[in-house]
Assembly symmetry: C2
Homo-oligomer: 491 residues x 2
């Protein structure tokens, strides 16, 4: 157990080593913050220390982090948060009355009128009521019960919690969960950690990353031979693929879930991020209820939202909610118990979620400015979605579907055989090799498609559309030049 | 799978039922927010609806939630948070300069100068540097590397993450984790969820809840017959038991961990909450390093701190950090990867943690007021600790150890045989029966000792010392009267 080393010191083998740690944790991968991003951080440090590089700055287009890319917060939201943080400001005449009344209402719902108190584990009552009213407005009057709302620490927390409830069984009875490929790697990471079986269904790149029921059926039938498929996850608008699902497709998915007895998980954090003409966001909840009681009384659904995306982009506050439909009462009690162990989601994030679902109304002093700010952000995103698609599609060897929604493009790239061989010799995925080389040569940080999953033999990268217009233009040109150089080099 | 019900509607069996959900989640228990608290919330609602009760208000002494009990936030902390939330206020001349410079520094460390950006998953660099300097000051110059600091979503998040890394093996090779009894139920809940083996070591109530190495050895030796003990958790100052460990005891624990190859987890969230004369907080880190390289180079230690307790009591912000000593480099890389999946801890909580470790300094404009507020809170807590012990010890059938630190008393109560029988007939723990009855009759919400663990045949409750002085006095008198009435009724 312990031995004297040469210098006379006692050395003990560590208790916790790579061989004796939790094996499921080792299987977790999360490309959005993987080796490329670690290298980008190193490069930033090297630049700041005066080291010479072929670029002046690192541009991070790896993660949907709007404020980091210069997007400004919504003034009203931040005014209310300041008032809630330091209620002395309620006496300050420079703050608008609607911000004050909103802050007052939030503080009244906090123990001791302080955001420093724990809230109920499910979230502050009045916030859950506001979320329910928001959902009812959004879904054209479909009723929503505040008891079905759980506030969360970002959407990720809600998704992991729901998956945790669903996992059971061993061997061929082990829970399987269907996820789209390409996927947002939170799903694969959570499933690996929970030891659940990941069932891949492929989105159809040729038809703008659409979801095909035949492909769902294929994936399910194959999976039934080695696990117990119990849940189906959908991301709409799509991450990393940017598609927006049609109402018809959502109906098909719901029918499929009902027929095959699958718990539906709808990741709808990009619900305001719809840019393409003719596209519209339809919530799973709304479609489910409009399909009539045969579905609305039976299909189990959890849907997720967050403060991190849309027009607000407030990732750092870790706010979010989930709505749970048709969940068994005993399971719901277990869910409530489970979330109580973590005490409560961060209260500033809950306050922010409240503002998102209950923004300034017509006639209130902050309304005009709120609408102006929101519209400006969403229009800019729509323009950048278009620009990204257009520029990338001018490059031979890159083909990019329209960015209908969300915040990403996921173009397909042609990688020459010689480059594939060099990558393989190095033990790297070819698109990781490509992105790493781009980072070293241009300072642009993208995520390789292999981090999200893709059809064998195809290669992609994910790029956010968030940099400000001028920077995005530079970025796209650099990508273009890099791709041409890379293709030439390995031809 | 589906059938027509009498009204002609299709009814499907649910996908997710109590029988098909994750069995480890079902095993989770968390008494601090358990049935007593749920009933307390119901009673509050009933009171607000005008229902007649034998009391005018519910007093919640079940949870260490200082602001909910009327404790005021530290002005400086909230000023900085308001400035960070709404940086326009940096132009407001009513804010002190030190608050502004602190806010400026925090914002400069945020992407796009906004708390709405994701931070690094390990936490904001400058905050981790401030934490490291705080630890060095606290520990009399023992060095601290910011790379060993991970910011967390409250201490709970850090503790669960560390336990997650440690769990592996099956059957008799399954990881066992030693926890004190009584314990804070986060530990048992996390171990149940992870499917790890809980190894109980008993604190000695007769000697003020002291920790005895002989008892550690007994617990360990027994556990080795059925599991693989790998970690030892200590809470100092103690929750729920309020003891403060002597330096000697900490040395013994470290020697024991070294000898038996156990990973040490030190929960030190109450490090500023020490009241009893002659008691002093000693961090495990400091003691470890002062024991010399034989220990400081080998013993693996994770220690946890939080913004939720001490003099600040900012629970709602979910801020915290952990320091990791002597962790294997490969495991550390896995830890960094694991925390990246959840993106980052809430940034307002990180900002608050920064203020806690870097408060106003002598000569700065906010210094005097900060010291005044901090001292007032800690003195009041010390007085209430004393008052609680004194009043409870006047009651025949209640005996209470001194509350040396933390925020709780954990008195032992005598429950008459007749009451034990009535509880057992109802399938309730006798102290749950006692606390539920107290709640119904007096409106006082305590947590039964069985929620924390206790020696067989002994009964306790946990009561926070947080209510304001006048309310605490009323509460203690009501407890006294209730206990006397209860004892008489069942004698």
């Amino acid at each position: 157990m312990s031995k004297m080393s040469e210098n006379g010191m006692v050395s003990r083998a560590k208790v916790l080593t790579i061989d004796t740690m939790n094996p499921t944790v080792k299987k977790v991968e999360y490309a959005v913050r993987g080796p490329i991003v670690q290298r980008a951080v190193e490069l930033e440090r090297e630049l700041s220390e005066g080291m010479k590089k072929p670029f002046a700055e690192v541009i991070k287009a790896n993660i949907g982090d709007a404020h980091a890319m210069g997007q400004q917060p919504i003034t009203f939201f931040r005014q209310v948060l300041a008032l809630c943080s330091y209620p002395e400001l309620l006496n300050d005449s420079t703050f608008p009355e609607d911000a004050k009344s909103r802050a007052h209402r939030i503080l009244q719902s906090c123990g001791g009128n302080s955001m420093g108190s724990y809230s109920a584990s499910q979230g502050i009552d009045s916030v859950r009521q506001d979320v329910a009213r928001y959902i009812e407005r959004r879904d054209g009057g479909v009723p929503c019960d505040p008891d079905d709302i759980y506030l969360t620490t970002g959407a990720s927390d809600g998704i992991v919690t729901m998956l945790k409830l669903l996992v059971c069984g061993e061997g061929a009875a082990r829970t399987g969960v269907m996820i789209s490929i390409p996927q947002y790697p939170l799903y694969s990471a959570a499933l690996a950690e929970l030891g659940a079986v990941q069932i891949n269904y492929y989105l159809n790149e040729e038809t703008c990353w659409s979801l095909d029921i035949g492909e769902l059926q294929r994936a399910l039938d194959e999976a039934r031979q080695y696990c117990n498929p119990r849940a189906l996850c959908i991301i709409n608008p799509g991450n990393p693929t940017g598609q927006v699902q049609s109402r018809e497709c959502i109906e098909d998915v719901i029918r499929f879930a009902a027929k095959e007895r699958l718990f539906l998980m709808a990741d709808e954090v990009y619900q305001d991020n719809v840019y393409a003409e003719g596209c519209q966001f339809h919530s799973f909840k709304k479609v489910l209820f409009e399909m009539g009681p045969e579905y609305s009384n039976t299909v189990e659904l959890a849907s997720f939202h967050s403060t991190s995306k849309c027009y607000m982009g407030e990732c750092g506050f870790r706010g979010g909610y989930m709505e749970i439909i048709n969940m068994d009462d005993e399971v719901k009690a277990q869910l409530t118990k489970l979330v109580s162990v973590r005490l409560c989601p961060p209260v500033p994030g809950q306050a922010l979620m409240d503002l998102v679902v209950n923004p300034p109304q017509p006639g209130e002093p902050s309304y005009d400015n709120f609408i102006k700010e929101r519209t400006a952000t969403l229009s800019a995103l729509a323009q950048k979605a278009k620009l990204t698609e257009q520029v990338l599609n001018t490059v031979q060897g890159i083909s990019c579907n329209p960015v209908q929604g969300a915040m990403y493009s996921f173009p397909r790239i042609t990688i020459p055989e010689k480059a594939i061989k060099e990558a393989t010799d190095k033990g790297q995925q070819p698109d990781m090799f490509y992105c790493m080389k781009m980072l070293e040569e241009t300072g642009i940080c993208l995520v390789p498609g292999s981090g999200f999953g893709q059809k064998d033999g195809t290669y992609h990268f994910r790029m956010t559309i968030l940099p400000p217009n001028d920077k995005l233009q530079i970025l796209l040109n650099k990508v273009k030049e890099f791709h041409q150089r890379f293709t030439q080099q390995y031809s």
